[in-house]
């Protein structure tokens, strides 16, 4: 009961509340909310939507894992957004300019992305441990710089090439592609979605079965107790940030190696911020994050169908925002409620408070 109430009730409440809120918004704007939600569920069976949801889930899952590593020790890596962008450009440029046997080529690209993401995250990490610069501010600034750097690197006179209206990096040769699982007309599941699953397992093992994971969680629970227990806070910040950045670097790999084979102007933005939301929704737990990523992907992809019934599909973005805000509020309310219940229980056991 305790687990159910403490861990599952808040997200369920938050999702219901957000759905209700959006339902009201839809009614106010003159649409039928039941029809809108119905269309969204029906959309899953249409065309490539189901496969798109799975692919998108993988991407969101990696981003949320990257954020969650930092969150475990109260380190706010707002910079996933910039890290995955820089990593994508660097990996696409490197992948497009080298020739290696199949398999190894893809591996080199993936490693390049991870290293590039980690290096981009290293700057705020080093600033934090050496100069005491708050990581929230520095990573926000790094996000801006990442946008500029990416735009510069794909410029026609740097590494990019002009194709019609689009600027893109040279295409990665076929030896660097990662094959997917084709489902005929329903689309192709990216091969690297499995990388996301592997990362999730690795994350769980690291958090629950290794000394590093323990120290990470200890630093998050109480930094002073962890320091007293011999945990080097600076080292933890550095490693956590590098790991977070490295994983963030992998965010766009499923798409780039599975479908696009290049970095272009249509590169998706905002996945890093969605990752923050999903990590919060899933409470940094690999299972919870998976659920959150699936929910986000479902809202994103099924929301496209809303245009057919005359509802602006941006309503799902409102729903996503509402879910994040209400889930953190719900967790806090439940935490306070449990704390009060605990205190009452202790009071009853000590006999200082009359049994209610």
């Amino acid at each position: 009961m305790g687990i159910l109430r403490g861990k599952l009730l808040p997200p369920v409440l938050a999702i219901l509340f957000s759905a209700l809120l959006c339902g009201i918004a839809l009614v106010v704007s003159g649409a039928n909310p039941l029809q809108a939600f119905g269309v969204m569920f029906a959309q899953v069976g249409e065309g490539t939507t189901a496969v798109d949801i799975i692919n998108s889930t993988g991407t969101y899952y990696i981003a949320a894992l990257a954020v969650a590593i930092g969150f475990q020790m109260n380190l706010f890596n707002i910079g996933v957004e910039g890290q995955y962008r820089v990593a994508a450009v660097v990996a696409a440029v490197v992948g497009g300019s080298i020739a290696l046997p199949p398999g190894i080529h893809a591996l080199v690209i993936i490693l390049t992305a991870a290293v590039a993401g980690a290096l981009w995250a290293a700057i705020p990490a080093i600033l934090k441990v050496t100069r005491g610069v708050n990581e929230v501010i520095s990573t926000i600034m790094m996000n801006g710089l990442a946008l500029g750097l990416a735009a510069y690197l794909i410029g026609a006179d740097v590494f990019g090439e002009l194709r019609g209206n689009n600027i893109r990096t040279p295409e990665i040769p076929e030896s660097g592609w990662v094959p997917g699982i084709p489902f005929g007309s329903s689309g192709t599941v990216f091969g690297l979605v499995f990388l996301a699953a592997l990362l999730g397992i690795g994350y769980w093992v690291m958090m629950n079965r290794t000394r590093f994971g323990f120290e990470l969680r200890a630093s998050g629970e109480s930094s002073t107790a962890a320091a007293a227990g011999g945990v080097n806070a600076k080292k933890m910040v550095l490693i956590a940030m590098l790991l977070s950045g490295g994983i963030a670097g992998l965010v766009s790999m499923p798409e780039i190696l599975g479908r696009d084979h290049t970095y272009n102007l249509n590169f998706p933005a905002g996945i890093g911020f969605s990752g923050i939301a999903i990590a919060l929704l899933g409470r940094n737990h690999p299972g919870g994050i998976a659920f959150g990523a699936l929910l986000w992907a479902f809202l994103d992809k099924s929301g496209l169908a809303l245009d057919n019934v005359g509802v602006p599909r941006e309503i799902v973005t409102i729903m996503q925002g509402a879910i994040v805000l209400s889930v953190v509020v719900a967790y806090e309310v439940v935490r306070r409620f449990e704390l009060a219940a605990q205190q009452r229980q202790v009071g009853r056991q000590l006999g200082t408070v009359d049994a209610a």
Binding site: R131, G132, M142, L149, G155, I315, T317, I318, A322
Partner: protein, 416 residues
């Protein structure tokens, strides 16, 4: 932001300041003017101090300034406001919605109201429910972006046939000090060293002034007076420094935090209106804020959580932006030359004070920048856009020990 990071020892009392704050500000302005006119003379780029550049800079600095001011109010009361960007976006929508129907003044009011709604949400989450400030801010940014996209599809699409754009919004009439402006214009045209630069800058400041600019300046002065010269302001700031002590003295901390954060949202919203009412823009445009809320936050940090400082930060960032927009990457390069000059002055100052390490570091940085200046023909526009981000990072890295944010900034406070 992490309480454990706060220094545990009480710093020794500082020596009494010999120079008052306004004098430091005046010196800074004078120094900036001298630096710009010297750079303009040495690099032969008169656009650095031309009227047009300054006018554009003022227009672009306004949204940053207002967002920074919003950040100041919230953070002085101890609430970190990453949600400025979202509140600003809501402000742009509100401004466009009211603006195209009832004119620019209505746009300002609606923008303030919409921004304040975002602030209210942030206050409810962080103050009443004790949610982490960063988390709530990120959520508000998501929510603000989603809400405006939804509303603009719903309401602007039938009017403008474009879900990402509003109908054109009427702008403010601008005012010029005509006699003064003409005289300064003549002076500027003479191209005399120093004098013409000063004339150009002044002319840019007094020509085509929008009421919004005056309002923003009044808001900066007003914020200073309210926050530092009234009882209300002292109490508000005490909530950001030590809420427990404030509460023990009978200050209603929750109420002050609510007022501050809602006001912060309103200011950010007006910042959004400044974007919509910019004469160069037709009206609301999706993605119009383009991270300016974050730059506002950066300007506030640059200004060490002080109104005068954030005015300087906003001016610097707006100027860099305006220079790029007006005259491209070539003139921007002159700014790098100016930075080298500034570094040389700093190095000499550090040598006089016998701080060898800082001086050596300064020489290295100046050398690097000069190498960039020497080897590059033009700074790519993709990079100049993000100059504020880089400057902020450098300022944080170099001066983070000297910046002093409110002691309880970002700490969740619970009454009890």
């Amino acid at each position: 932001m992490n309480p454990s990071e706060a220094p545990s020892t009480v710093p020794p009392p500082r020596k009494a300041r010999r120079i008052p704050g306004w004098a430091v500000g005046a010196l800074g302005v004078a120094g900036a003017v001298v630096l710009l006119s010297t750079t303009s003379y040495l690099t032969d780029v008169p656009q650095l101090t031309s009227t047009g550049t300054i006018q554009t800079a003022v227009r672009l600095a306004l949204p940053i300034l207002l967002a920074a001011l919003g950040g100041l109010w919230a953070e002085r009361a101890g609430v970190v406001n990453i949600g400025l960007e979202g509140m600003m976006i809501m402000g742009t929508w509100g401004a466009a919605w009211a603006g195209y129907q009832w004119g620019p003044w209505a746009a300002l009011v609606a923008a303030a109201v919409f921004g304040a709604l975002g602030g209210l949400l942030h206050a409810i989450a962080t103050v009443t429910f004790g949610v982490n400030h960063i988390v709530s801010g990120v959520a508000i940014n998501l929510l603000g972006a989603g809400l405006t996209k939804y509303l603009s599809t719903l309401i602007f699409f039938p009017l403008s046939n474009n879900p990402r754009e509003s109908p054109a919004v009427p702008k403010f009439d601008t005012y010029s000090a005509s006699g003064l402006s003409d005289w300064l214009g003549e002076l500027e045209a003479q191209q005399r060293v120093g004098l013409s630069d000063v004339a150009g800058i002044l002319r840019g400041l007094v020509t085509g002034v929008s009421p919004l600019t005056m309002l923003a300046i009044l808001l900066v002065i007003g914020s200073y007076l309210v926050l530092w010269r009234t009882r209300f302001g002292l109490r508000l700031r005490s909530c950001g420094e030590n809420p427990v002590a404030a509460e023990s003295l009978g200050v209603n901390v929750y109420w002050y935090k609510y007022v501050a954060v809602i006001g912060s949202g309103a200011l950010a919203g007006i910042g959004g209106a400044a974007l919509v009412l910019n004469p160069g823009q037709p009206g609301y445009l999706e993605g119009q804020t383009n991270g300016r809320g974050f730059i506002g936050l950066a300007a506030m940090i640059f200004g060490n959580w002080r109104p005068g400082g954030l005015l300087g930060g906003a001016a610097l960032f707006g100027y860099a932006d305006g220079l790029q927009l007006r005259s491209g990457g070539k003139t921007f390069l002159a700014l790098i030359y100016g930075a080298v000059l500034l570094l040389v002055v700093i190095v000499i100052w550090q040598l006089v004070r016998r701080r060898w390490f800082a001086a050596a570091f300064g020489i290295l940085a100046a050398g690097l920048l000069y190498a960039v200046y020497y080897s590059v023909d033009e700074v790519p526009s993709e990079l100049t856009t993000y100059a504020p981000h880089l400057v902020t990072l450098i300022v944080l890295a170099v001066a983070s020990q000297r910046l002093r944010m409110p002691a309880a900034d970002g700490v969740v406070y619970r009454r009890g």
